[in-house]
Symmetry: C2
Subunit: 476 residues, 2 copies
């Protein structure tokens, strides 16, 4: 912090990837370490994650779930129990082979996800329909051995919550999977101001071991999509692999129906890429660890600092407010808090005090508003609400402007050669067409949206009968 | 839960170890898994940890610390940088040697603690005295390759917080180390009702890489001691190994002075062994996820359930209250909530409703009190306070009764042959005497208490001049 923020960051239109890297380091969200592909989450980054975590945890508990904690390590034989699951995850796990000086008789995987651990536990504790549903969640770190990594978006280790539930029936499990996807969508839209498309993944893109996967997809400022949260209906595949049976209401043995769902630190990457601009991060007010930063002007003059501190005290009942009374120049402070994306800067100097007013500067628009001290709390609260709404609206509009309907393959190819964004196009349901689209355009199927429209009768790729509308995009 | 709690647990006087194992499983704190030495923390166990975590996190933030998150893995070369540290930890770390199918060019350690990661980061972000102090904390899982494990007390993986701070001067760092030890002592005494002895570890028992270690030690019901939290003054050893230098107020380069301090899920083991009894767990009211459990009596009779639910609603503003309206017999419910150590059971049946009263049953004493509905909230709150105080007082008294002063080696040996508890005895400061005590009695030096008394002039072991009073005990 002592170095100030005089250096400019790369423009996001010039080099979006470099702009992103500049922001995550200069807004002090992360630092690199000598651990390849891992990141240090710094106090400001962690405060943002903590807020997301608390907000989501509240909603997870309100929907009846309980938190538990499972081991970090998974014995190889346990991971091998569900065939599709191990096939999907084996290439990207870290292996522990030695404890102290001794070679282990069985290798351990550092958890990439915990379905199998929950499976083993559920077998122990579920016996009757009276034990159902079991609605568990855990907050944990997981590891996936990625080759190419980027802070928040794709890291060797990341933080997340993973929900794992067991139900009597398929319908109940499916309802749960959709319910939790909606909770994720709410967090994104209401809290992070990120508009999302809710839908279902194709078989090609579903979770390894799931019968089907629901997803929320969001669009970044550069027109690439980001999978922002997924919820899986696991069917009874894990139940059979782990023998999780219960005596049903009629007295016969049944396998449970399961779900799992996860939301990760990746969403911080989405927040950066949806709202940020060339002056740095823009944090939505509801999420912001500091909503209002007070910067005293001419603070050496008598009464200014006292007044600024009394304002902080007064405002702290209603908003998360801080003050920077350091001896840095105001211009430096302005740059620093713009880089950090604090929603409102409050400037107060001798003349303001005389005239019983302060100046509020919006991070999202740069607008300066002079407001009277009367009803300051209420004015700030309503301004924060307005900024929150505006950020969501701006992102929604950006997505609309970068979403096109396409009817034939030539147009599809042309779109991804000349533009970025979502393409809505019909699909026949065949893996071959998905593969061809990927190969020739670089885009993947993001989801079959819950809100289906029949924009044509034929598949955009092969021209055969279409079975559903699909959102296509290049993706992170 | 569906199985009820009819089976008795082992008496703690008969077999303390088995009693402990019975409690952790039957109170549904943990489950075992196929991961050797690791535990599944179940919802009730996790709710207890979450309360401890929230209470401690609040105090960590109030004392000016910020949370961060460091990587799980440590490259071997990084761990090797501080000689004493690696010597202490190398025998008990888990090694990651493969990522996916590839053998790594450098092995990674699963963090047993994070001094070296903080060291590397601090070198990057500290340049001037203006950057100091740096007061960081992280909540994380860590792994130590223990041979013999027991739930909470010693597990391959455990959850904890680890504080890591940098300061301009030795005095400031030492003050920090003591301040955080006091925070731990407060959490133990005020929140967990566990009395502790604050003191300093001998060189033999200090943390690998520390100049000295402060500790809080508590006494379990079986008379064995448990190290309940430690705080280390690291000196400038890590600073030199990681080259963490700053320009001081006079403009010259200096190494920072560091501390680290940790508090773990182990404390749940202490809570069990200090307060539990032959009917199960006893959770101190301030910590208890559920403070009052309402058990309706003759709940099939008209009005009973409605009344019980309205009581729950009424009480939920002031205490953490739950109701068991399941169709299990009241006696089964009594057993279950006694096993889980819920501080107060509230019984309410038709006659109580008629007479505008309820029955409160204390978990700690078994006392039944009939109380009027008038001022029920306040009566319950004051009863919870009384239970909290009583538990602490009972544990303190138990410790007093199991603490003896000893002046000579014969008496020391006799104590540990016939009794359990703390021995207060003088020590010359030589490692040889500590080793001899350990060898001949099984007891270790727990700490040199801050409150020193000169009970004799000579070492209890060698008879040479004594340098300090030491608490000795057999320990977990």
């Amino acid at each position: 912090m002592s170095k100030g923020f005089v250096e400019k960051i790369t423009s996001r239109h010039e080099d979006f990837a470099q702009w992103y890297t500049d922001i995550v380091t200069k807004a002090e969200l992360i630092d690199y370490s000598s651990v390849r592909g891992s990141m240090i989450i710094r106090p400001y980054g962690y405060a943002i994650w903590d807020n997301i975590k608390n907000e989501l945890d509240k909603r997870i508990k309100e929907t009846g779930h309980e938190n538990v904690y499972m081991p970090l390590f998974i014995p190889e034989s346990l991971l091998n129990k569900e065939k599709d699951h191990i096939e999907g995850f084996a290439p990207e796990v870290a292996w522990v082979t030695h404890g102290g000086d001794e070679e282990l008789t069985e290798r351990l995987v550092v958890r990439p996800t915990s379905e199998v651990l929950f499976g083993e536990h559920y077998k122990n504790i579920i016996h009757s329909y009276r034990d159902l549903p079991k609605l568990y969640n855990q907050w944990a770190n997981v590891v996936r051995w990625e080759k190419t990594t980027r802070p928040f978006l794709r890291t060797l280790e990341f933080l997340w919550q993973e929900g794992h539930t067991c139900h009597e029936t398929k319908d109940e499990a499916d309802e749960e999977a959709i319910k939790m996807l909606k909770v994720y969508a709410e967090i994104c839209e209401e809290y992070l101001a990120i508009p999302v498309i809710k839908g279902q993944k194709t078989d090609k893109e579903k979770f390894a071991g799931a019968e089907y996967t629901y997803t929320i997809e969001s669009l970044m400022h550069d027109g690439k999509a980001l999978q922002s949260g997924t919820s899986h209906y696991l069917g009874d595949g894990f139940a059979k692999a782990f023998d999780i049976q219960f005596t049903d209401r009629e007295g016969s043995l049944q396998y449970v129906h399961q779900t799992s769902w996860g939301f990760t630190t990746r969403i911080i990457g989405a927040m950066i890429m949806v709202h940020g601009d060339d002056r740095g991060l823009v944090v939505p007010p509801r999420l912001a660890p500091t909503q209002v930063m007070i910067v005293p002007i001419a603070q050496h003059k008598e009464g200014v600092l006292d007044f600024a501190y009394s304002l902080k005290k007064q405002l702290s009942d209603v908003v998360r407010v801080d003050i920077d009374a350091s001896d840095k120049k105001p211009g430096w402070k302005f740059n620093e808090y713009e880089m950090k994306g604090i929603p409102i800067r409050l400037e107060v100097g001798p003349r303001d005090i005389e005239q019983e007013q302060v100046v509020l500067v919006r991070r999202d628009t740069g607008d300066k508003i002079t407001v009277s001290l009367i009803n300051l709390e209420r004015q700030i609260q309503s301004l924060l609400d307005e900024i929150q709404k505006k950020l969501f609206e701006r992102a929604r509009q950006h997505r609309e402007e970068h979403t096109e309907m396409v009817l034939d393959f030539a147009s599809l190819k042309e779109f991804f050669e000349s533009k970025t964004g979502f393409v809505k196009a019909m699909w026949c349901g065949e893996r071959a067409c998905e593969d061809k689209v990927k190969e020739e355009t670089g885009a993947t199927s993001r989801c079959m949206p819950f809100e289906q429209e029949a924009i044509s009768d034929t598949c955009v790729c092969c021209g055969k009968e279409a079975s559903s509308l699909v959102y296509w995009a290049k993706a992170y």
